[in-house]
């Protein structure tokens, strides 16, 4: 299971499988906290024309996300943001979970959301969050765990506390067990 944080995906080139060309680069990921998935990415232009691109890449148009590139079949997969599905073209900014407090149902704070953790290889399922722990330092918690999300905080099951990991490798191992315990698999 190869996991990457959203910040590792930012800046990756978008490369066509059929053409071998770098047609854009990832500006940011668009995330749906309710669905726990990547809905698409916004883009920057490459090369001399560097700067924000008007095009976006919906998640279902992504061929694969790897460590070194986001792959698309060809450049027709990039769509102008006004032509993109609503959740990709005009993502709601209040759904941003970064800086949100992660609270257990029992009322303990596990920390604040620092980054998203995605399962790569496919089109980007979000399987966890990187958190800044209350006592300092960073940790990782598995998803799907949140019961509700408000824009200020998200509430997760009490057992999430047992699954706080120190690194991405640990999180990779924890995701399956966590989901089994929640009866999700």
């Amino acid at each position: 299971m190869l996991l990457m944080t959203a910040s590792q995906i930012r800046g990756l080139p978008v490369v066509t499988v059929e053409g071998g060309e770098d047609v854009a680069e990832v500006r940011d990921v668009i995330y749906s906290p309710e669905e726990g998935r990547l809905v698409g990415v916004t883009l920057n232009k490459r090369g001399f024309l560097a700067g924000r691109s008007r095009d976006v890449l919906p998640a279902n148009a992504i061929h694969a996300i790897g460590q070194d590139a986001v792959m698309v079949l060809n450049d027709s997969k990039l769509v102008a943001h006004e032509d993109a599905p609503e959740d990709v073209g005009h993502p709601a900014t209040e759904r941003n979970v970064l800086e949100n407090d992660v609270l257990t149902e029992g009322g303990a704070s596990l920390g604040k959301v620092a980054d998203l953790v995605l399962l790569v290889g496919s089109s980007g399922e979000v399987v966890g969050y990187q958190i800044d722990k209350p006592g300092g330092g960073q940790g990782y918690i598995p998803l799907p765990a949140q019961l509700s999300v408000s824009g200020d905080a998200l509430v997760v099951p009490n057992i999430t506390e047992e699954f706080v990991q120190d690194d991405l490798v640990g999180l990779g191992a924890a995701v399956d067990e966590f989901r089994t315990r929640l009866g999700l698999t």
Binding site: V15, T16, E18, G20, E21, A64, G66, D68, V70, M71
Partner: protein, 151 residues
């Protein structure tokens, strides 16, 4: 007979009718879809000239033979202009898997000197069959994901 991109670089191009040397091979442009050598690029930059594979009378070990000077032409589209500028040269190009992981640099490519059909890619020190090539451009050569596991 098997030939390689690396060993054919610099080979002289000779006119069969005049026996004159018309230039030397800079590099080879491939058709990634058909997995074969499409065009021989002679010289570089603004002075670069192209010969289509079908126009060759022989891709020999010591010289590349063409009927006469009229076989040489200028780049005719954006892809050929990019090739003339050296942007599509395969040697040294990064190889990316279809899954978006870098596999290494392309060190050499072998092909059949009679047909121009590509045989193997040498990525780093490992040999990958040319049938795994999915696309080739200025940024990367993209290869089938099943090849990633063998590297």
């Amino acid at each position: 007979m098997s030939e390689s991109f690396q060993s054919s670089a610099g080979r002289k191009v000779v006119s069969r009718s005049s026996a004159k040397e018309l230039g030397s091979v800079s590099h080879l442009l491939v058709d990634a879809r058909q997995r074969r050598v499409a065009t021989v690029i002679i010289g570089r930059g603004k002075k670069a000239q192209l010969v289509d594979w079908a126009q060759l009378s022989g891709f020999g070990p010591d010289a590349v033979m063409v009927a006469d000077e009229s076989a040489l032409r200028s780049p005719s589209d954006d892809r050929e202009r990019a090739a003339a500028a050296g942007k599509l040269e395969l040697l040294g190009k990064r190889a990316l898997s279809e899954r978006g992981n870098e596999l290494g640099e392309l060190a050499d490519v072998t092909f059949d000197a009679d047909t121009g059909v590509l045989e193997d890619l040498l990525i780093g020190a490992r040999r990958v069959p040319a049938r795994s090539v999915l696309g080739s451009g200025s940024y990367a050569v993209v290869v089938d994901e099943s090849q990633e596991d063998s590297i």
